[in-house]
């Protein structure tokens, strides 16, 4: 039987100082994805391997990993799309390791809590009316499945210790800001508190998004532009200075 060799990162940080790659040979099936091979290891070779997956259909964003050192969803990476030789599977590097290929992504919930929530304009007549054209921009961002691959490739997050929330969270802010009936503008918050200024638009996040959201062009750049406009708009500056004088924030 034809087999495929996987080299999987195994490490329990609470027990071992360092991890190691362990090779597994898995029977190859037609149309097999990397997650199928990992599930085979879990079921038939080592039930103790830690693996996170839910829908196995590209809809939940649970099985993020680095496959041959490139961030991807295991459930959507076909084995036959990878070059010959063994396939390495390792955890996404931007987050603390729990065990093997599973990481702790919980800091994202803490960040999401800080982004001001959807706040409808006052005095809207019910039921609400919106046109399809007006909801399309926000809908693009709502495709996000929170796989956090964009966070993983973001070099600001990987290599620098800043307060930048990361691409996922800019997408979240943009999805709310571009809601036709939302009353807030989160760009100032994103700039001031969420470190948006650190992003130098290298577009790495856009390249890895499995939902093909144009993160940089459609979310990050517009949020940056709005923040800058608000900062340097003479009228806005005047209003801000008055507010500050009257002691309000």
């Amino acid at each position: 039987m034809e087999t495929v060799r996987l080299s999987v990162y195994r490490h329990d940080p609470s027990v071992e100082r360092e991890g190691k790659y362990v090779d597994y040979d898995v029977p190859k099936e037609e149309g097999m994805v990397v997650l199928d091979a990992m599930k085979y290891i879990e079921k038939h070779i080592d039930p103790n391997i830690s693996l996170r997956w839910n829908c196995s259909a590209g809809k939940c964003g649970s099985c993020s990993a680095e496959i041959n050192h490139r961030p991807a969803l295991m459930c959507k990476t076909r084995v036959d799309s990878l070059k010959e030789g063994k396939i390495t599977v390792s955890p996404i590097a931007a987050y603390p390791l729990i065990k093997d290929v599973v990481t702790d992504v919980s800091e994202n919930w803490a960040l999401l809590k800080r982004i001001p929530k959807f706040t409808p304009k006052e005095g809207l007549e019910k039921p609400w009316k919106m046109s399809q054209v007006d909801i399309e921009r926000s809908k693009e961002f709502k495709k996000c499945i929170e796989c956090f691959l964009c966070q993983n490739v973001c070099h600001v997050i990987r290599e620098h210790d800043t307060d930048y929330f990361g691409p996922r969270h800019v997408v979240k802010a943009a999805s709310l800001d571009m809601h036709p009936l939302d009353a807030l503008d989160r760009s100032e918050f994103m700039n001031r508190d969420a470190g948006l200024g650190y992003c130098n638009i290298t577009k790495c996040c856009t390249e890895v998004c499995p939902e093909e959201i144009h993160i940089t062009d459609n979310a990050i750049i517009p949020e940056k532009e709005r923040a800058v406009n608000a900062q340097y708009d003479p009228l806005a500056m005047l209003i801000r200075s008055r507010r500050n004088r009257s002691g309000r924030k």
Partner: protein
């Protein structure tokens, strides 16, 4: 409030919610808004629950597209499709309250597709009289989850994700908490609560071929059953007519009814449009059970495809139309199967999709027969009867999710915290730990044997011999399931998790099979080749309870429908 003992972390709350899909999250919001302290637990990461996979939409009689629609028609459709064993009051509440729940979701920030007038768009779906499904393209479930998640995160609701509850705790007759294992840390938790809501979803994973995601192992069914709750209608399992068959990794994955809604036709390997023989009038758009059985019959008759399905063909609509109307199906087939559905036919076959039965609840409050225990969503029963209408499950989780939050928060006002029995907690922790760090039977192999037997013997058309065979498999696996063993520790040990899931999976499977043997007729999703007719004497519900060492089954009359509601529903035909 949390504090640690040597063995576990203790956490106190008013309302404990097990499960963070649509129903659990909606319950958390209403319980919190009613003033209760709320804690919500999730087996997977927050926001990954099976609800994200829902595609078609939420059924709600807003009458935005078809002005003749009303709650009365939605009620009637639901009762008729449930083949007259639904709880009329649940169907009535669903039909009346779904529109309000949809508008409220919009006020929480959900963005539904719009009509040209700017109101919420509604689409047609099988067996709904009018166009009724409010939707967000084909990602309605994702929108619900993300919207509710946002609401949870911006309230002071405690959540623990990747936490698996292994046992409910009782003080005398009432439920007062739960024991669980936090998978990502390997720590035990003991929750002391005045009420518990179970919203854990279905049990599709006890079948080999299912559209259900990883979590759906019937956990809540097992917890409630062990705590003395009544289950109902467990024999009713819905098969969706069209699941993917190839490649193996995605076998069972849903192919939305929308493909047929947009003009897709079903063909056998001889190129025949076989629905002409099964349903000449409604063709591919007949009810789910009829289309599913037709697909199955063609495959069984040797007219299936090479991978064991039938063909679903929408190529005649052309690439532009398909990419616009069915974008995620286009992507799904291209990514997983390497099939371009604008040029090639899809291969599809029936797949286990939904559990109509579950924990028996009071329609007003979702309370079970066990004080302090509530249930909502797919794990609860009564609304869908013998068959579920597409779109009614998303309406269900919103309407009855809210009701369970209201019901539980109102209940806790009148009760004091219960006493947690330390010896029960210690025994439970020991039971869990006993699976770890040793050689034993491979839990995944036990689960696989169960799933294979269920798919082989408890399929879309059932008969006594096969059901007995499945029952024997279940009985034979019970004892080995307690001897499962896995190496490693408590932290993120999926083998351990599988070992723990086995008991609920076996309970769910046993109930389904025993009920299917007991119901000697064909009604809705339950089809028997040896009893192909519907029997008026069996227009009843089957109740399942834990009695001594074995499962007890009991026939119970369907609640009598008041005359003013009865006149809305067509008479049942035999």
């Amino acid at each position: 409030m949390s504090y640690m003992s040597s063995k576990y972390i203790k956490h106190e709350t008013d309302v404990l919610i097990i499960g963070a899909g649509g129903a659990g999250m909606r319950a958390a919001i209403s319980a919190f808004d009613a003033g209760a302290r709320v804690t919500i637990l999730s087996k997977s990461l927050l926001g990954k629950a099976h609800t994200v996979m829902a595609e078609g939409g939420i059924a709600a009689a807003l009458a935005n597209v078809d002005s003749k629609d009303s709650w009365e028609v939605h009620f009637s459709d639901t009762m008729e499709e449930g083949v007259y064993i639904s709880n009329y009051r649940m169907a009535e509440l669903l039909a009346k309250e779904a529109p309000e729940r949809v508008r409220e979701l919009e006020e929480y920030g959900a963005l539904f597709d719009r009509t040209p007038e700017g109101t919420i768009m509604q689409r047609a779906f099988g067996a709904h009289t009018y166009r009724r499904l409010c939707h967000v393209g084909d990602r309605t479930g994702l929108e619900i989850i993300r919207t509710l998640e946002d609401q949870i995160l911006h309230r002071d609701i405690k959540f623990f994700d990747e936490l698996y509850v292994t046992k409910l705790l009782k003080d005398g007759g009432r439920v007062v908490g739960a024991v669980g294992l936090k998978l990502n840390t390997g720590e035990f938790y003991v929750f002391s609560s005045r009420a518990v809501i179970i919203s854990t979803g279905g049990c599709g994973r006890i079948f080999k071929v299912t559209s259900n995601s990883w979590e759906s192992t019937g956990d809540g069914l097992g917890l409630a059953y062990e705590a003395g709750a009544e289950l109902m209608d467990m024999e009713m399992i819905q098969f969706h007519p069209t699941g993917m068959v190839y490649p193996p990794g995605v076998k069972g994955l849903l192919v939305t009814e929308g493909v047929r809604g947009e003009g897709g036709i079903l063909l056998n390997s001889q190129g025949e449009r076989f629905m002409q023989r099964y349903s000449p009038k409604k063709m591919e758009l007949d009810a789910r059970d009829i289309v599913a059985r037709a697909n199955y019959a063609e495959i069984m008759a040797g007219r299936g495809t090479i991978h064991g399905g039938v063909y679903l063909d929408i190529t005649q609509k052309g690439p532009d139309f398909i990419k616009k109307k069915l974008p995620s199906m286009y992507k799904q087939f291209l990514d997983f199967a390497g099939v371009d559905i604008t040029k090639e036919k899809m291969e599809v076959a029936p797949t286990v999709h939904y559990q109509m039965g579950g924990i028996k609840v009071n329609p007003e409050t979702t309370a079970t027969n066990v004080p302090g225990l509530f249930a909502s969503g797919e794990v609860a029963s009564g609304l869908h009867g013998a068959n579920r209408l597409g779109g009614n499950s998303l309406a269900d989780i919103l309407v009855f999710g809210k009701r369970s939050g209201d019901g539980a928060s109102s209940y806790v006002k009148g009760v004091s915290p219960g006493k947690i029995d330390e010896s029960t907690v210690s025994a439970e922790i020991e039971r869990v730990e006993a699976f770890v760090g040793k050689d034993g039977l491979n839990p995944h192999e036990i689960a696989e044997k169960l799933a294979e037997s269920m798919s082989e013997n408890v399929g879309i058309i059932r008969n006594e011999d096969n059901l007995r065979r499945a029952l024997k498999t279940i009985a034979d696996l019970k004892e080995p399931s307690t001897r499962a063993g896995v190496q490693g520790g408590l932290k993120y040990n999926k083998g351990l998790l599988q070992a723990l899931e086995l008991s609920s999976m076996l309970t769910a499977a046993e109930a389904i099979v025993r009920g299917a043997i007991e119901r000697k007729e064909s009604r809705g999703a339950h089809a028997r080749s040896d009893y192909p007719k519907k029997n008026p004497d069996l227009r009843k519900n089957i109740i399942y309870t834990k009695g001594g060492n074995e499962m007890k089954l009991e026939w119970r009359e369907v609640p009598r429908i008041p005359d003013e509601l009865k006149k809305l529903v067509p008479e049942e035909v035999y």
